[in-house]
């Protein structure tokens, strides 16, 4: 039996001005699973994942690895969950690649040497070991994405969440990312519009609409049910 890593029950959230963003979302994620979150813009996918590591807080229950998420257990959640943001430039803020990758481990309390060790390991895992001393503004979009992922992997999370990971990537870079994700053992949540990527990376999909989960199943099932398959989705090809 698989371990349940994330359990969400009836999550609700409203913005400052009162507009409802999440209307009672239920969700679960088991070890080694990969789930795609699909749905139109503004349906609440990103808002939802921001709740999982406590960047936003709403009403309802969230359990990360069996521990309920509260103010006190935030650092626990942030150790377990690694969130890769859509815009790598907002994530890579340190002056060099290796220093950025070491940022997470340092926050976990490791010493400088240990953190560097972890950072090098993670960079090797994503194939960016040679770029150690380069500045983030010199990297291509695909390279930045990999370094961002390395920064997360260096913290050894159990769950990876990627928010629109293929947004700035060209097809070869997207294919390389797909390959990398397939090799990583962590459980994954991938928020994406890229239906081909979703199909290739995730056996299960969850469809969001207006702040609630309205359907679940395999990616092709879900796409068909909600009218998202068609000629447009055949434009990009992934191996």
């Amino acid at each position: 039996m698989s371990r349940r890593l994330i359990e969400v029950r009836d999550l609700r959230f409203r913005y400052h001005d009162g507009t409802p963003a999440l209307n009672g979302v239920d969700f679960w994620l088991d070890a080694r699973e990969t789930v795609a979150l699909l749905g139109p813009n503004g349906s609440g996918k990103t808002t939802f994942v921001l709740h999982l590591n406590g960047l936003l807080s709403g009403e309802g229950t969230i359990e990360i690895c069996g521990v309920p998420l509260t103010k006190e257990t935030l650092s626990h959640a942030r150790r377990k969950i690694g969130l890769v943001f859509q815009d790598s430039d907002s994530q890579l803020f340190m002056p060099t690649v290796i220093e950025d990758a070491a940022f997470g481990p340092l926050n976990l309390g490791l010493t400088g040497d240990e953190a560097m060790e972890r950072a090098r390991e993670a960079l090797a895992q994503v194939g960016m070991a040679a770029a150690e001393n380069r500045a983030p503004w010199h990297l291509s979009a695909g390279e930045k994405k990999r370094v961002a992922i390395a920064g997360i992997l260096a913290m050894r999370p159990e769950i990876l969440i990627l928010d629109e990971p293929t947004t700035f990537l060209d097809p070869p870079a997207a294919a390389a990312l797909l390959q990398l994700l397939r090799e990583l053992p962590q459980a994954k949540i991938v928020v994406t519009h890229d239906v081909l990527f979703a199909g290739a990376v995730a056996p299960r999909a969850v469809f969001f609409e207006k702040g609630a989960v309205v359907g679940e199943g395999t990616v092709p099932d879900v796409l068909q049910r909600f009218g998202w398959s068609g000629p447009l989705t055949g434009l990009r090809t992934l191996p």
Partner: protein, 240 residues
């Protein structure tokens, strides 16, 4: 762009690049003080100081001609005041002012061309600068590259929308609007950065990865780097 060129130069490899930033900063400060207090015999001292800088550039494998040309960015301002002084009847002093500002700028440029800015900032922490300020400067530098590009795109977009046609007042308001949009974007980016930091366990303090190490090579560098201009000044520059 100027900062991109300096950034590239600062990432090259040379013995000078490898020196501790604090040693280089100390050498710079001594050099600047020597230059600024050299009022006599600058005809000889000026070229001598410049020669030392050029030697440093060659040692660091930075193109001296390019570097010296870039240091000239200080001249427009200095020449205005030098001109005023010349008009007041003291052309000798005017030339001195311009020359001193130029040599000083070239020295600063050499420091920055051989030391990546974040390392330089970390060196300043040892000199008592508040860490908060240094981190702000580091973020500023990091995002200078990103935001300059955004601003350039906005400018190009505005120009392509017929920049010269509308009346002055409307254009003024349009420019203010563009600035406000850039401001808002920057603000959103700042909160995204903060969120990404929180997601990686940030709890308020920036922890250092590696401490700077001041070694024998740095001491061996500092003594002549600071001592030589000082000696030159005392020998040829007249009284203190």
């Amino acid at each position: 762009m100027h900062h991109a060129v300096l950034d590239e130069w600062s990432r090259r490899e040379s013995a000078l690049h490898r020196r501790d930033p604090r040693a280089k900063t100390a050498a710079l400060v001594v050099f600047l003080i020597v230059v600024t207090t050299s009022t006599h015999n600058f005809v000889v001292l000026g070229p001598a100081y410049l020669g030392m800088l050029v030697a440093g550039m060659a040692w660091a494998r930075i193109p001296p001609a390019g570097a010296l040309a870039r240091a000239a960015v200080v001249l427009p301002f200095s020449l205005v005041f030098a001109g005023a002084v010349a008009l007041a009847g003291d052309p000798q002093r005017a030339v001195l002012l311009a020359a001193k500002s130029y040599v000083s700028a070239a020295a600063v440029l050499l420091l920055v061309a051989t030391t990546p800015l974040p390392a330089l900032l970390r060196g300043f922490e040892g000199l008592g600068a508040p860490r908060f300020l240094l981190m702000v400067a580091q973020f500023l530098y990091r995002y200078l590259f990103v935001i300059s590009e955004e601003a350039q795109h906005m400018r190009a977009a505005a120009l392509s929308r017929g920049g010269g046609i509308r009346a002055g007042r409307t254009r003024f308001r349009a420019a203010a609007g563009a600035l406000a949009v850039l401001f808002a974007r920057s603000h959103v980016r700042a909160s995204d950065i903060h969120r990404a930091m929180l997601a990686r366990g940030f709890e308020g303090h920036f922890r250092l990865v590696r401490n700077l190490r001041f070694g024998l090579a740095d001491a061996l560098f500092l003594v002549p780097a600071a001592g030589f201009p000082l000696a030159l000044r005392l020998a040829l520059g007249g009284g203190v």
